[in-house]
């Protein structure tokens, strides 16, 4: 009984992570100081002539260009064009690559058959295929969504396969000893056990989606953030160009944090390695 109460206490201690306001402030400062410094340098460098302000305008100029574009709705139309394409391609990749990966991971025969071709596709840079996509699908939405889909598929597919293959055999043994059906085993053990590794792939795909989309938009598009950046460069709208780049960073951050939040929700049970 003494041992139990000892265990109770230690487990309680584990959960007693009280939030100290001073510590929280300290953490905030620590996390934002380098970022702030970066913006300060960006502001000062062009003003004191360290870089040519014509090509590298101060941060305040970029920010005001960004604000004006936001008010004129110009930014929103490009932003929504990009986000629609990336979400469409990304969503399609999730919808197809996860079920496919589960099946390939589960059946050794599928794995053996498909592995060589998967390796080949995975190592084909998506952007190298951009001309092919444009030739086949034109320069409309389809080719852009298709290339995002292509780029997102591989990390999701390969991580899903790896996730299924690396489920702790003891968990499978334990579930099998309870005489559950193959379907239950898959649905109640393999699937939840695979989620963390699957999410690594999904997050990689999220980053890839933006990267590939912007490049595709720079080459052939009539709207979208990638198009906007090259367009403003050609027309020497330098502050606007930087504002476009900044918007892409924000888009990337939103997607990444969104996925992180979803991952946290789905794998609440996992031990946070940073604690």
């Amino acid at each position: 009984m003494v041992a139990i109460s000892k265990q109770v206490k230690s487990a309680k201690r584990l959960h007693k992570l009280t939030i100290n306001p001073l510590l929280a402030l300290q953490k905030l400062v620590k996390q934002s100081i380098v970022l702030l410094l970066f913006f300060v340098v960006w502001e000062i460098a062009p003003r004191i002539g360290l870089v040519d302000p014509a090509f590298f305008p101060a941060f305040s100029e970029v920010a005001s260009a960004w604000w004006n574009m936001l008010l004129s709705n110009e930014l929103f139309s490009h932003f929504s064009a990009s986000i629609t394409r990336s979400i469409a391609g990304f969503g399609l990749a999730i919808a197809i690559a996860i079920p496919l990966g589960l099946v390939i991971g589960w059946y050794p025969i599928a794995r053996d058959l498909l592995n060589p071709i998967l390796e080949l596709f995975r190592n084909t840079a998506a952007l190298a295929l951009l001309p092919v996509f444009i030739l086949l699908l034109g320069i409309g939405e389809t080719s852009k969504i298709a290339i995002v889909f292509f780029a997102c598929t591989w990390p999701i597919l390969l991580n899903t396969i790896a996730a299924v293959r690396n489920v702790d055999p003891l968990l499978i043994k334990s579930a099998r000893s309870m005489n559950i059906s193959s379907f239950s085993l898959f649905y109640k053990v393999i699937l939840p056990a695979s989620i963390p590794t699957m999410f690594t792939g999904i997050r990689m795909a999220g980053t890839g989606a933006i990267l590939v989309l912007i490049a595709a938009e720079m080459v052939g598009a009539k709207e979208g953030l990638g198009y906007f950046i090259t367009y403003s460069q050609y027309n020497f709208m330098i502050p606007e160009m930087y504002a476009g780049i900044l918007t892409i960073s924000i888009l990337g951050l939103i997607i990444n944090y969104g996925l992180l939040a979803l991952e946290k929700r789905l794998s609440r049970w996992k031990q946070d390695p940073t604690v």
Binding site: A3, I4, A11, H15, K173, S177, N179, V189, W269, K270
Partner: protein, 267 residues
């Protein structure tokens, strides 16, 4: 007491890679011609050196593999596969990390097809039995090793199997927690009247828990001897390990395990 389990001249061989010849395969005998039976409600411990086929035997009893020769009977019926008439507790707990303590226990209830509205009361009952009622909503990573094993025991008991198979369940725990769990297991056994087959490395553990101890020898695994442990009222004596009866039984098992001239091979 009737006969619950009969291990009837069981041999289990595997095909393994031959270390002497590259690419060649050879047959490896994990268990050879093993024969013993377990009485209804008995607590049987099995002790033996590494390589005596303990885990193989447990897999066979669990129905996760089938004997190469011989058969295993449970209530007179040959074991053909896994079933909820047997519950297994593994050394590494094997809890589902995405489920809470309660969720893990309810996994077994669900497997048995018990209606959902009864889960709560049942899981409460078994959490209480292992002393973890206030930890129902903790995930495994939030529990200590001893607590995890309590959950695993509760999970196996919850679907109410006749036989509890335990594969070195306390081997990964520290000495103090182990002793606590050993006496709790005895208490649970007395309360639930389950037939328990408990595999262990530890001589003390085997003698303390088992009404009979099966001593195995290795390479291939076979039964060396089955020893009756005449201890009564183990829970009444707080320091039963100092009891002369215990010491005598312990020495007997120790001697049997060490009398081989190959003793040096067993680590």
């Amino acid at each position: 007491m009737g006969e619950k389990i009969k291990v009837d001249r069981v041999t289990k061989t595997f095909v393994v890679r031959d270390s002497d010849q590259k690419g060649a395969r050879k047959e490896f005998t994990a268990i050879s011609n093993m024969e013993f039976s377990v009485k209804e409600g008995e607590f049987l411990t099995i002790v033996g050196p590494s390589g005596c086929g303990k885990s193989t035997l447990l897999d066979l009893l669990g129905g996760l593999s089938t004997p190469t020769k011989g058969r295993i009977l449970l209530d007179g019926q040959e074991i053909k596969g896994p079933g909820l008439d047997r519950g297994t507790v593994f050394q590494q707990y094997a809890l589902f990390p995405w489920k809470t303590a309660r969720g893990n226990i309810e996994f077994g209830l669900e497997a048995k097809g018990i209606p959902k509205r009864e889960w709560r009361a049942q899981s409460d009952h078994y959490l209480e039995l292992v002393g973890l009622k206030s930890f129902a909503d903790r995930y495994p990573h939030e529990l200590s090793g001893g607590m995890k094993q309590r959950v695993a025991i509760a999970r196996s008991l919850a679907f109410n199997p006749d036989v509890l198979l335990m594969d070195e369940p306390f081997a990964a725990l520290d000495a103090q927690t182990r002793e606590t769990l050993q006496s709790e297991l005895l208490r649970i056994w007395e309360k639930t009247k389950k037939t328990i087959i408990f595999i262990t490395h530890g001589i003390d553990e085997a003698v303390y828990l088992g009404q009979r101890v099966v001593i195995l020898s290795a390479n291939p695994g076979r039964i060396k001897k089955i020893v009756e442990i005449p201890l009564k009222h183990r829970l009444a004596d707080a320091d039963i390990r100092s009891n002369p009866e215990f010491v005598k039984a312990r020495h007997q098992v120790w001697s049997l395990l060490h009398e081989d001239e190959y003793a040096g091979l067993y680590i």
